[in-house]
Amino acid sequence: MSSIHCHDLTKRFGQLSVLDQVCWSVAAGQTVGLLGGSGAGKTTLLRLVAGLARCTSGTLIVGASSADPPRVSMVFQNLALWPHLTARQHLECVLFRLPLRDRRRRAEALLSEARLPAEVWRHRPAQLSGGEAQRLALARALAVEPDVLLLDEPLAHLDPPLRSELLQVIRECVGSRGMTCVFVTHSWDEAVQFCSRIAVLDRGRLVQEGSPADLYWRPRSAAVAHWSGPVVQLRQSWLTAGCLGCAGETGHLAITAAGPDELLVRPQQLTAVGATGENRWQVVDSRPRAGGWWTTARRDGNMVSLSTPRCCQPGEWLGVDVGPPALCDWAYPKNHAVESRQAC
């Protein structure tokens, strides 16, 4: 197993700085997620680790010792399958070091492990569906028995059910080998389900790294808060005016500040109560979601969204209480983003 260490890693394309003094470490055997928007530098960092590009300055160490060079493998964002080879030939080509008979057996074992149906083993990439092509790319990456596996948005362009299924396949394949794995994604849900640690990149800088709970409840910036799950934006003035009920000290309610008068809280911090005094919000709509209902309410043109245990009828009045961040309670709801669009 190999570790990855970056120190002041910088990559520039001409005048454009894509990575700016990134300091980052991944321990051997760890699975780490790299989260960030388009152009944040995720893929560039991955390419540097893979050796597909050279950094402009800084230090990058992959592997523990030069005596035993680490094998790095990658699942590309566009998969980079070879259009002229069949699925089985892809793996046989990579397994060239094995004797011919073992090569075929090993290729078939890997394809089975990636749950690629046997009837498509003779198909070329153009004849494979999106999910099958992803599985083939994963099997090819695993065929080299890598010490470090880099996954560059491997679930992009797949529908949600297929994404969950493939994520399960990746988790099994990676888990059984105990390799170091870096998982690049746009999706907080995928990162949470797959990674023990998550790093957030923003405009070429590593803005925060930690456990999913850390990032969820203690984001260092509004950008990290937005990347690490759903947030609700409130105004400090609503608290002072009594438009929101407050359970606890108002100074410790927000997970982070978004502006002079703006607070960011997680949906779990908001509770629906009976409308009293100024704390009166009118329900706009209520939609089903895992573990309850996602209700949106309005007051004087301002909107809040919160989780409610029951379906609230549009026009109904309710009060909203804000509680402190639940630091000890890692109550991140799985599949929260998969919202049904059915009317209640």
Binding site: G51, G58, L60, G63, P70, M74, F96, R140
Partner: protein
């Protein structure tokens, strides 16, 4: 940057270094510098019998032939416009509509591109010239009317050069049309009325249209065979006469420089436009095209009839006229038998030159596509516009110079003509390889490197299979250009080693018509059969431009 531990010794380096590409381009283009040289100082005769000895050089005070120069520019512009009009319309029909038997029409259109210019022009003369097939069928009453309007045969030259370069325009515009799905063709079809849709279409492929016009202009301006056969006194004819009739090599060099300036300017403009065209980058755009075709409906047979009529007038009837001129099968076989040594020599030199051109094209084209260095990309495009006559003149002057690297022995055998033909064909092969390389996503190479495949294994298992088709297309185009080459053969052919084109050239002037027609048919067969075989085995279009 510091890479420590094992990653230090393992970092991917895409492609090959650039210096071999620059080296190849420089070696093949270096003889052009001889056009800038002063008066020859060689006292002994040159090795090639076709070259006039400088001992007899006449350096008169002949003025620059401005009328021929202006006429050439006008004829080339007219031919390029005609080529873009015809080629563009055919490309639209082939790429954007549900025209039946599209691959047949595409292949048939390419015959003009595959056929040697001299043979093509001969076919037109045998069909539509005085006492030709048209005269025999329709009588010659209309000829006087036409002769009055086509004094100097400039109109004929425009038509024939336009026909020859229409397939080139078709390929170039077709390449632009392939990109339309990404450019929003479906949205334009749904939302715009037909007139605005055409305007949108012209805007979407304007870079390809401009590139096609400029390339056709450059190639037409430098064409020697067509004005020679049509007896149209254009600038290449003036250059040739200055060289062979007046034995004025210095004057010929000056004219060559003028011609070279015009064609290279056009090619440089093409390179400018080419730089704005996005490449496919490995995306499978071809598969998306079927769903974007416009149904022709009841106009389908109108388009088929128009295409059929065009091909009948430009291909079927002229080839038929050549066959009529041959007279009988025994005439043809006799001419072919007598031309056996030249045929063998032509095939040998063409295959050798095409192979060398493909190697040179692969080195330059791949480096240009992978490195994306502008000068290298231009180096692979601009030499396309160097006229064969100018190239032949430059090579003859360069390698016949006394003390010139001691390479005069090259002219004693086929080496010099092979080198000259290679210099003529390599830019086309380079374009084919560039086009092929641009279709491969760089990640394919990177994935192979990450999978632990060494350079040799990557070349054998990944690169070679993916580049096989472009290489085949590039080799075929190089062969087509070399098998029917007249100008370079005339200037660089060693004594006793004639080529088929040279024999045809001789019989065109001094021999019986049936022999010339037989040789033209033989040349046509040698050129067209490989094209048909290519389509039969690969079932795809020539991706050369």
């Amino acid at each position: 940057m510091t890479y420590r531990a094992a990653r230090d010794v393992r970092c991917y380096v895409p492609g090959w270094p650039c210096w071999p590409a620059y080296g190849v381009a420089a070696i093949l283009l270096l003889p052009l510098v001889s056009l800038f040289g002063g008066e020859e100082t060689v006292s002994e005769p040159p090795v090639s019998a076709a070259l006039p000895s400088t001992a007899f050089t006449v350096t008169g005070d002949r003025a620059f032939p401005w009328p021929a120069f202006v006429a050439t520019v006008a004829v080339a512009a007219g031919a390029a416009s005609l080529a873009v009009l015809v080629g563009g319309l055919v490309a639209v029909a082939l790429e954007l509509t549900d025209l039946p038997a599209r691959s047949f029409w595409g292949t048939a259109m390419l015959v003009a591109f595959a056929c040697p210019s001299a043979v093509w022009a001969m076919g037109q003369v045998y069909c539509y010239g005085p006492s030709g097939l048209a005269d025999r069928w329709l009588g010659d009453a209309w000829r006087a009317w036409l002769a009055n309007r086509d004094k100097g045969h400039y109109l004929s030259a425009v038509l024939v050069l336009g026909e020859i370069h229409a397939p080139l325009a078709m390929l170039l515009v077709g390449r632009g049309l392939v990109r339309l799905p990404q450019a929003g063709w479906e949205a334009a079809r749904l939302s715009l009325p037909w007139i605005l849709r055409w305007r949108w279409l012209l805007g979407a492929v304007r870079t390809e249209l401009a590139a096609a016009w400029l390339l056709a202009f450059a190639l037409s301006a430098g064409n020697f065979a067509v004005p020679h056969v049509l007896q149209c006194r254009l600038f290449p004819i003036e250059l040739y006469l200055r060289l062979t009739n007046y034995l004025d090599r210095l004057g010929a060099s000056l004219l060559a420089l003028a011609l070279l300036t015009v064609t290279l300017l056009a090619a440089a403009a093409v390179a400018l436009f080419e730089g704005r065209v996005p490449t496919a980058g490995g995306e499978a755009v071809a598969d998306q095209r079927e769903s974007h075709r416009t149904a022709l409906g009841r106009y389908r047979w109108v388009v088929v009839a128009a295409l059929g009529l065009y091909l009948a007038i430009t291909v079927v009837l002229p080839v038929g006229a050549m066959a009529v001129e041959v007279g009988s099968v025994s005439n043809f076989l006799s001419a072919v038998r007598e031309a056996a040594p030249e045929t063998a020599n032509t095939l040998g030199t063409a295959l050798a030159a095409a192979s060398l051109a493909l190697i040179a094209g692969a080195i330059v084209g791949r480096a240009a596509a992978r490195k994306r260095i502008l000068p290298l990309e231009h180096a692979a495009l601009v030499p396309i516009a160097v006229p064969a006559l100018v190239l032949g003149l430059a090579y003859s002057q360069f390698y016949n110079r006394a003390g010139m690297l001691g390479l005069r022995w090259l002219g004693d055998g086929n080496a010099l003509i092979i080198l000259g033909l290679t210099a003529r064909a390599w830019p086309f092969a380079a374009r084919a390889m560039m086009s092929g390389e641009q279709q491969i996503a760089p990640a394919c190479h990177e994935a192979a490197w990450l999978a632990g495949l060494g350079r040799a294994r990557r070349a054998r298992w990944i690169t070679a299979p993916l580049l096989a088709n472009p290489a085949l297309a590039g080799g075929l185009v190089a062969y087509l250009l070399t098998v029917g080459e007249v100008e370079i053969s005339q200037l660089l052919c060693a004594p006793g080693r004639g080529t088929l084109a040279l024999r045809l050239f001789t019989f065109l002037h001094f021999g019986p018509v049936h022999v010339a027609a037989s040789l033209a048919l033989l040349q046509l067969a040698l050129a067209v059969l490989p094209v048909l075989a290519y389509f039969l085995f690969t079932n795809r279009c020539l991706a050369v431009v």
